[in-house]
Symmetry: C2
Subunit: 150 residues, 2 copies
């Protein structure tokens, strides 16, 4: 009964809500974008912003079933860049590996451009992504990035 299965879109929102809740439970202020689905809106928002005492994280949220390269539309990367240029803070592609509880955060400067004008998180860059727990600790000043990479 295919009609009873949640769509990719619905499932994506469920994961996004889960991510919002995790940031919230760690003391962050969180705001999710209105679910528009339209590219034509005047003001473009990131999927999710999480703020802790003036430190701002803006994310586009992606899900994948496998550890593989992830492709992202140019307009999504552009709106993230525009947002953090204005707000300050940092922008990430937040990637959920479905079936695990892991979230990986890949900074925008690690995206690669594809020949078709999209952006790509390579499998290698995905595997080097910052885990949610590490990101939260870094933002809250508990640990430094180096503590997680050595």
């Amino acid at each position: 009964m295919r009609g009873n299965l949640p769509s990719n879109r619905t499932r994506g929102f469920a994961h996004e809500r889960d991510l919002a809740r995790k940031f919230y439970d760690h003391g962050f202020a969180v705001m999710r974008a209105p679910a528009s689905g339209s590219k034509a809106k005047h003001l473009q928002y990131p999927d999710l912003i999480a703020i802790y005492q003036g430190k701002i994280i803006a994310c586009e949220v992606k899900t994948t079933r496998k550890f593989r390269a992830i492709y992202i539309d140019k307009y999504q990367v552009d709106k993230l860049k525009e947002f953090v240029n204005r707000s300050g803070g940092e922008a990430y592609i937040a990637i959920k590996i479905i079936g695990s509880s892991d979230w990986f955060f890949v900074p925008l400067d690690q995206l690669e451009k594809t020949e078709r004008g999209m952006y790509k998180v390579t499998r290698d860059n995905l595997s080097k992504g910052i885990r949610l727990e590490a990101l939260i600790s870094i933002v809250k000043g508990v640990k430094r990035l180096i503590d997680f990479t050595k």
Copy 2:
């Protein structure tokens, strides 16, 4: 034809969108809350947040046709307080006087509690509210509050 007139709610959203656009045009990153209308959601968002280089403004948006006292539900004030406790920054009630182009920003510490457990912006505190233009200049560091009050 009453049915063809926009509802208060629809009109409120139009003004909120207008405010978002004004902040955006002055270089702020802006995000409006999803229009839920529900108090029962797990994570409560302000109506609007506007951020400029790490400086965060969170607002509940109200409209009025007359220069009069404005009443605000306790849960709306509580969610604003909670948000800025987490995010840092400042929280305001943003009040649009319909028919003028003016927006007045009243800080939370100027709200008064009513006997029925609501909050109130008195007519006097509304008239002392910070104008949008002044707020933007203050946040951007162009002017100080004192420049507008003397």
